[in-house]
């Protein structure tokens, strides 16, 4: 098995090395228009320069601020509305298909409207991120609280649990894992949609910087920011997945 693993890793490393080599050779001999694909070395150079100078900080700050606000809004409204809807079977059957149906409309369509309402600044990005993140949170909250095993509820009630006890000791722990998954999905979707909307129309942020370097024909700098955005995506993904796994495992 470990020999096989090693072979897999070798193929993977070889594949990535091949791509980097192809990138290096293609740009070195001028086979590819440098506007389209800058040389590997100059992109790397710009990336190192960017990290060392710290000039990425204002844009990263804007994007992270938008993400934090958008996610807080979506998490608050999603959990509260989801919990209220989940209180009765009837309201679940009324609202669950409604939210699911709305979720299937690509929310990025609302972005032009949000630009109209909230302007080009962070407001419209927060609005689009919150809208997109709201749906997985609310749907998972409804699902989490709705599918709590009836046996738990009945037995807790027969043992005389009060309403707050019922919520904190039975409903919440049982629904928690599903709700947390919804929050993780919402967080990632918010980040992706904020990046996407910054690309479309914005004044600052990582997505904005990538586009502005693309438009000013400075591809090496653009690639440096693309690297940074991809690294941020991987880091955020890893952090929330880890948090999800940790929370689900519970305190003991």
């Amino acid at each position: 098995m470990s020999g096989e693993r090693l072979a897999y890793r070798l193929v993977q490393v070889g594949f990535i090395a091949l791509i980097l080599l192809a990138w290096y050779l293609a740009t070195r001999n001028g086979l590819v228009n440098p506007i389209l694909l800058p040389s590997l070395t100059s992109s790397w150079h710009e990336f190192v320069l960017l990290i060392e100078s710290g000039s990425y900080w204002p844009d990263l700050e804007v994007t992270m601020y938008e993400l934090a606000v958008a996610f807080s809004i979506a998490a608050t409204f999603g959990c509260v509305i989801g919990y209220i809807v989940s209180r009765t079977r009837f309201s679940v059957r009324v609202f669950d298909p409604l939210f699911a149906g709305m979720y299937s409309v690509p929310a990025i369509l609302l972005f032009p409207l949000y630009v109209l309402f909230f302007g080009l600044g962070p407001g419209s990005k927060i609005a689009i991120g919150a809208t997109i993140a709201f749906f997985p949170v609310v749907l998972n909250t409804i699902a989490g609280f709705d599918y709590v095993d009836r046996a738990y509820i009945v037995s807790a009630r027969s043992m005389g649990a009060s309403a707050p006890q019922m919520f904190w000791s039975v409903m919440l722990p049982a629904a928690f894992p599903v709700v947390i998954t919804g929050l993780r999905m919402g967080f990632i979707l918010a980040f992706l949609s904020i990046l996407g909307s910054e690309t479309i129309a914005s004044l600052a942020g990582l997505g904005h910087r990538i586009v502005s370097y693309a438009e000013s024909m400075d591809p090496a700098k653009m690639f440096a920011y693309i690297f940074l955005a991809i690294i941020m995506a991987f880091v955020l993904n890893a952090v929330v997945s880890l948090a999800e796994a940790r929370v689900k495992r519970g305190p003991g």
């Binding site: 072979a7 594949f15 389209l36 009324v94 409309v105 369509l109 032009p112 109209l116 992706l192 991809i230």
Partner: protein, 248 residues
């Protein structure tokens, strides 16, 4: 008389529309918000507006081309990666890694490479749609019970017979799940690229209506696009449900 959940749901939607209508008429700024009644009027105008219809047709064409391309490339690619244990072990993690890259960051590259016309939208939709297909095809191939393959082989089936009679039918449900997810991604990719830059597509008109402060037209255009998205998603969902039925 007792109301069913479906009736209450329609009631909720009507209530929201009424609140929207009244709220906007009383408090709204007509430069930014339109009541639903005016959106309906704008929608009727839109149907007669040939350039907008052409833009919608272009977008639909972009969506379908990207989707078909993603299937044509993604299915064989998924099979090539999924069928062999070795290629699955080595290349599937690479696919997952690439899938995790936020593609919005490389949108400008697509515009630089393919121009601002439909090809860049098709390419961007394709790059979004191909991943769900590859991933679900690999997962589908993996989920075929080994016992079925062994027994087919022991009954003297050759490789192609095993592929067409055992592996392929078992893969179909997850392939259709992949197509549904691919349609969702395809919509996101194409619409994102359209909104980013567009010559005569819907993105051009959303920008035009925004900048000329014609919210009724903007709402109407968005409503039409949303309807297209819902129809495409629903078609894929129905197909998925149909094709996975034989299984259970």
């Amino acid at each position: 008389m007792k109301l069913g959940p479906g009736q209450v749901r329609i009631g909720v939607i009507i209530l929201l529309l009424v609140l929207w209508e009244v709220g906007v008429r009383l408090f709204g700024d007509p430069l930014f918000l339109s009541p639903p009644s005016q959106v309906v009027v704008a929608l009727i105008d839109l149907v007669g507006n040939q350039p907008v219809i052409n833009a919608l047709r272009t977008t639909l064409w972009e969506l379908v081309s990207a989707f078909v391309l993603a299937i044509v490339v993604g299915l064989p690619l998924g099979l090539a990666i999924g069928l062999q244990r070795f290629t699955r072990g080595s290349f599937f993690p690479i696919v997952l890694l690439l899938y995790a890259i936020p593609q919005a960051t490389i949108l400008p590259l697509f515009i630089l490479a393919f121009g601002i016309g439909p090809p860049s939208k098709i390419a961007f939709g394709f790059s979004h749609a191909i991943f769900p297909i590859v991933v679900t095809v690999v997962a589908g191939v993996q989920n075929v019970k080994p016992a079925l393959i062994v027994s087919a082989r022991s009954m003297g089936a050759n490789r192609s017979q095993i592929f067409f009679n055992v592996v392929l039918p078992h893969m179909i449900p997850s392939f259709f799940t992949g197509m549904r997810l691919a349609m969702t991604s395809d919509l996101l990719g194409v619409l994102l690229a359209e909104l980013y830059v567009s010559q005569a597509g819907v993105g051009h008109y959303t920008r035009l209506f925004t900048e000329s402060f014609e919210p009724a037209k903007l709402f109407a255009l968005i409503a039409v696009l949303a309807a297209i998205a819902v129809v495409l998603n629903e078609t894929c969902r129905r197909a998925e449900r149909r094709m996975s039925r034989w299984h259970d």
